[in-house]
């Protein structure tokens, strides 16, 4: 008979205990007790097997009782983290050191993810906090007006440019007398460059601001005087308040020591006294300026009007109140049929919500906040999924460690805590690198996006807060799944060496995550491709004119001086022609009313452009009068052409033919009647038609347009210069020399037509660049993740590869097999990503009147790119693994 082996019996008892899922932290004590009882029963004369059975019975129903008791015993309330933290940290650091390459990859991915999230958060914060620094901003509103079918961001004076100072101020007073309105201010900005004379020097400044409500103005927007005072600025007209930035530009960095208050400053023919220097307005306000001038009368046809209301008011009640009393504010406008009421905009809504004419700064686009937010989120998801995937894969190698910890009494929460801590630790270690990257990246981001989030960002506690929060949140999110997944593993499974280290079952978490990553890559990649295609389309689409090599110069000259200028410039060898007229590639401007003579219907949506025949020729605009364009001497001094869109409208409306239309009279501004002659509006004979041209951005559909073509315009604002293949800088220099020689406008202002057009798509171009960067980052991240994951999994599967090779599998078949695992995932990803990205892009493209067609090939291309990258990575890693001799792999563990 086989003798009883008490050690084996105890071992079996112990493993039953473990596999039952109990967590006895006092396994050793129990075992010692079991032996004591066993000895006792032996001494009392029982045979060993029976003695053991009795002892075991007496020890008790360990799994059940112990688990219940253990819960109370193992966790001294409140202290757990305190005394476990050092050992968590020690284990965490040891783990980080033990797999340096994989952890480095996780570290880099985490850094990239956190940097992206931080930049996106800072950007969103800056956009959403526009005008937040204005005191009591929620009670402040801007007034605009509805006129014809357009909304204006300002309100005209009753007599436009001729309105006197009292009348201009009268409407501010009238506004403040309305119930609910506490204060009202008005100003106007002048973005064009001007020359100021100060002491002996001359300086060019732009963005001057004129106000005749100076005290209220400084108070309303909360401007702080660094030197001088608001009282001095408001005390008498013809005073100037410089912003600190402008003071520094003019007087140098030590302007504070130069006694500049009280000094005279001349702009045009006006001399102002410097009354103060203001702290620079916050960059995220809806307007900015360099010098505020206190004038009795604003030299413009209207002003920007703002009011502060009491808490009981809102935009709608204010609009109603002001409309009811508008006769007191602007009697002549109130009587006009074209006036459609005031537009009241809450101050904080202007940046993201205004689409009015002549906006002070290009408004922000909420769509782009979504785009940036979503892209950052995608990168973040990639970061987190990368970490999750690699962490789970790496930690399967730690299953025995987890098993031992559990056997020694660690609870699920403690195991999860360990992994969470490790992720947070990695995040924390990433923090210095994140801040360094931000330091270099933020100024570049600002330059690209035209924002100012980098200014002093690294000194701002808010920014630190955001980055720390992002670090901890992302670190924890990244560690969450691995923590929960690993801590939930049953103990017995943790000791099973074959634990899911290979490809896993039909649907493993890893496959789900990889599919998610593929989906994100395809989505991001196709979005980038489409955004870039639309931008490219806009930049190359036939706009109806020749956009190349045209320089616009402001000449501000009468016809004879312009003729001289033209002659002089034409002498330049590289110049082919010089014309005059409205520069193309503009921001939207005001429309005109018009009607066909003999008809009563008045339209209100025509744009008017002016050109001479040379401009028409040099821009190569198609017209129905090519012979006159070629030889203007045969043409009348002035004629009017209508564009095809307008011609089509009139023909369809009144059943006319092309031939009927020519010679008919079109009346502009029929609401105006000349009091002396009794003539209604401004009648023009339609001389012919011209092809539709996109003067504005392609976001807008080409509308009806009238073009006044003159042989010799009486006054020329802008000259158009077409040049040969020379460099633009050369041309600019030569033209400038002619310009300066002729004593034209003291300020030389110029614009290249191509640059004008590019400026129209600044936003799109920014988004396109940004999405390209995001995509590159995402691809880089996914690539890193995929390399690390495949490399790690392959090391776990080296035995498998070795066996396959010994059994005769070719390298090709192994490559095919390993790559093949990813194909179904990619197909699923394509199915998910395509409709989602299609919807998103369609939504974005809806904002463009002229747009590309979205075809399935973009998504296939994106999937193809993803596939290519995946195959490259997987093959590379597998080939490396295959190089190891099978015998070596199989001989050792």
């Amino acid at each position: 008979m086989k003798s009883f082996d008490v050690s084996a019996a105890v071992a079996q008892w112990r493993s039953q205990l473990i596999s039952a899922g109990s967590d006895p932290s006092f396994l050793e004590e129990l075992e010692s007790g079991l032996y004591d009882r066993y000895d006792h029963f032996l001494l009392s004369g029982l045979p060993p097997a029976e003695a053991f059975a009795r002892a075991r019975e007496k020890v008790g129903d360990v799994p059940r009782v112990a688990v219940a008791e253990y819960g109370k015993a193992a966790r001294p309330s409140g202290f757990a983290l305190g005394y476990l933290l050092p050992s968590y940290l020690k284990t965490g650091l040891r783990t980080l050191r033990s797999r340096p390459i994989y952890n480095l990859i996780n570290y880099l991915c985490l850094t990239i993810g956190i940097v992206t999230a931080a930049i996106a958060l800072l950007y969103l914060r800056s956009e959403l906090r526009y005008d937040a620094t204005t005191p009591n901003a929620q009670a402040k509103y801007r007034l605009g007006m509805q006129y014809r079918s357009q909304g204006y961001s300002m309100i005209g004076f009753s007599d436009y440019n001729q309105t006197d100072a009292d009348e201009q101020l009268e409407r501010v007073r009238a506004l403040t007398e309305l119930p609910g309105i506490l204060t009202a201010v008005q100003f106007q900005t002048f973005p064009e460059r001007q020359l100021i004379r100060l002491r002996e020097g001359k300086f060019e400044v732009e963005n001057l601001l004129e106000t005749n409500t100076p005290a209220a103005f400084a108070d309303f927007f909360g401007y702080r005087f660094l030197s001088g005072s608001a009282t001095a600025f408001a005390a008498a007209p013809n005073t100037a308040a410089l912003t600190a930035g402008e003071a520094e530009k003019i007087f140098g960095p030590d302007w504070r020591n130069q006694n500049i208050i009280g000094q005279p400053l001349t702009i045009d023919t006006f001399t102002y006294t410097i009354a103060g220097v203001l702290a620079d307005p916050a960059p995220n306000t809806h307007f900015d300026f360099s010098i505020a001038l206190h004038r009795e009368r604003i030299a413009y046809w209207g002003s920007r009007l703002y009011v502060e209301a009491d808490a009981a008011q809102n935009a709608a009640t204010l609009a109603a109140a002001i409309d009811d009393n508008f006769a007191k504010i602007n009697a002549s406008l109130a009587q006009q049929d074209l006036f459609g009421g005031v537009i009241v905009q809450p101050l904080r809504s202007i940046h993201l919500g205004s689409d009015l004419l002549y906006e002070l700064k290009p408004p922000g686009k909420p769509a782009y906040l979504y785009v940036i937010g979503i892209m950052a989120l995608l990168v973040l998801l990639l970061t987190i999924s990368n970490y999750t995937n690699l962490a789970v894969a790496m930690h399967t190698g730690r299953s025995r460690e987890i098993g031992m910890r559990k056997v020694f009494g660690a609870g699920d929460g403690q195991i999860a805590g360990q992994f969470l801590l490790e992720a947070a630790l990695l995040g924390l270690l990433a923090f210095p690198l994140v801040m360094t990257v931000l330091y270099f990246l933020l100024p570049r981001f600002d330059a690209l996006m035209g924002t100012a989030i980098g200014e002093g960002a690294l000194r701002s506690p808010v920014v630190w807060g955001i980055v720390v929060a992002a670090t901890l949140v992302i670190g924890s999110l990244a560690g969450l799944y691995p923590a929960v997944y690993l801590s939930r593993q049953p103990i017995i499974g943790l000791f099973d060496h074959r634990m899911k280290s290979g490809g896993g079952g039909a649907v493993s978490t890893r496959k789900v995550i990889i599919t998610l990553q593929f989906t994100l890559l395809i989505a991001l990649c196709s979005l980038t491709l489409l955004v870039n295609r639309q931008l490219n389309y806009m930049q190359t689409k036939d706009l109806g004119f020749d956009r190349d090599r045209v320089l616009y110069v402001n000449v501000n000259a009468d016809s004879s001086r312009f003729a001289t200028f033209r002659e002089e410039v034409l002498r330049l060898p590289s110049v082919t022609s010089v014309g005059a007229g409205t520069p193309l590639g503009q921001q939207d401007f005001n429309q005109l009313t018009y009607k066909l003579e003999g008809q009563s219907e008045v339209f209100d949506d025509a744009y008017n452009v002016y050109m001479d025949f040379q401009s028409l020729a040099l821009l190569d605009i198609e017209t129905s009068i090519p012979e006159l364009v070629a030889d203007p001497e045969q043409a009348p001094a002035r004629l009017v052409l209508i564009n095809n869109t307008l011609a089509e409208r009139l023909k369809n409306r009144y059943g006319l033919t092309d031939a009927d239309l020519v010679g008919r009279t079109i009346i502009e501004e029929p609401e105006y009647t000349d009091e002396e002659t009794g003539e209604v509006g401004f009648p023009y004979e339609i001389y012919g038609t011209f092809g539709d041209i996109n003067v504005f951005s392609l976001r807008e559909q080409v509308g009806p347009m009238l073009m006044t073509v003159s042989r010799n315009p009486r006054y020329v604002y802008w000259a158009a210069v077409r040049y040969r293949e020379d460099s633009p800088t050369e041309i600019l220099k030569d033209v400038r020399t002619v310009y300066d020689g002729m004593n034209l406008d003291p300020i030389f202002t110029h614009a290249f037509l191509e640059a004008n057009l590019e400026d129209l798509y600044e936003d799109e171009s920014r988004i396109s660049t940004l999405s390209t960067y995001f995509s590159l980052v995402a691809f880089g991240l996914a690539l890193l993740g995929l390399i690390a994951l495949t490399a790690y999994l392959t090391t776990l599967r080296q035995r498998e590869i070795g066996i396959r090779r010994i059994l005769g599998a070719s390298q090709w078949s192994i490559l095919r097999r390993y790559n093949g695992e990813y194909l179904p995932l990619l197909a699923v990803a394509l199915l998910i990503a395509t409709p989602l990205s299609w919807l998103a892009v369609d939504e974005w493209l809806a904002g463009f009147a002229y747009r590309i067609d979205v075809g399935p090939w973009v998504f296939l291309l994106a999937a193809g790119l993803t596939l290519l990258v995946t195959v490259l990575v997987v093959s590379m890693v597998t080939v490396l693994a295959m190089r190891v001799l099978p015998a070596r792999v199989l001989s050792g563990e």
Binding site: G33, L34, R37, K58, V65, A66, E69, K72, A73
Partner: protein, 116 residues
């Protein structure tokens, strides 16, 4: 059989009292309890060790492993100063209860007159 509640309430004072006579190990403690209760209280190891662990956490007792002659390990427990303080307090309370019962019942459990 003693009720669960009473077992739960009396375990710690009993362990402390037994350990106040000198250090001891798990199995012997269980045996002492059985002997003193004349078999009325039968503790299992699975019930005792968690209590010992908890008492250790509360610093009422301390423990250390000792290697026995047979080569096996055995954990010995001893009462700490805090444990002694706790025992003194427990003793006061239990004696109080005990005195009350002895005034209420005779040795056979028959009610006594409570009028003085």
């Amino acid at each position: 059989m003693t009720t669960k509640t009473l077992v739960a309430a009396s375990t710690k004072p009993l362990v402390l009292s037994i350990l106040s006579h000198g250090k001891n190990y798990g199995y012997r403690i269980i045996q002492e309890v059985e002997r003193l209760s004349a078999g009325e209280l039968a503790w299992t190891d699975a019930m005792l060790y968690p209590v010992l662990k908890r008492m250790e956490n509360e610093e009422l007792i301390a423990s250390h492993w000792v290697k026995t002659e047979s080569g096996r390990k055995r954990k010995y427990y001893e009462i700490t100063a805090t444990g002694k303080e706790r025992l003194a307090e427990d003793r006061r309370q239990w004696l109080n209860v005990s005195r009350m019962f002895s005034r209420l019942w005779d040795a056979e459990g028959n009610p006594l007159s409570i009028a003085d």
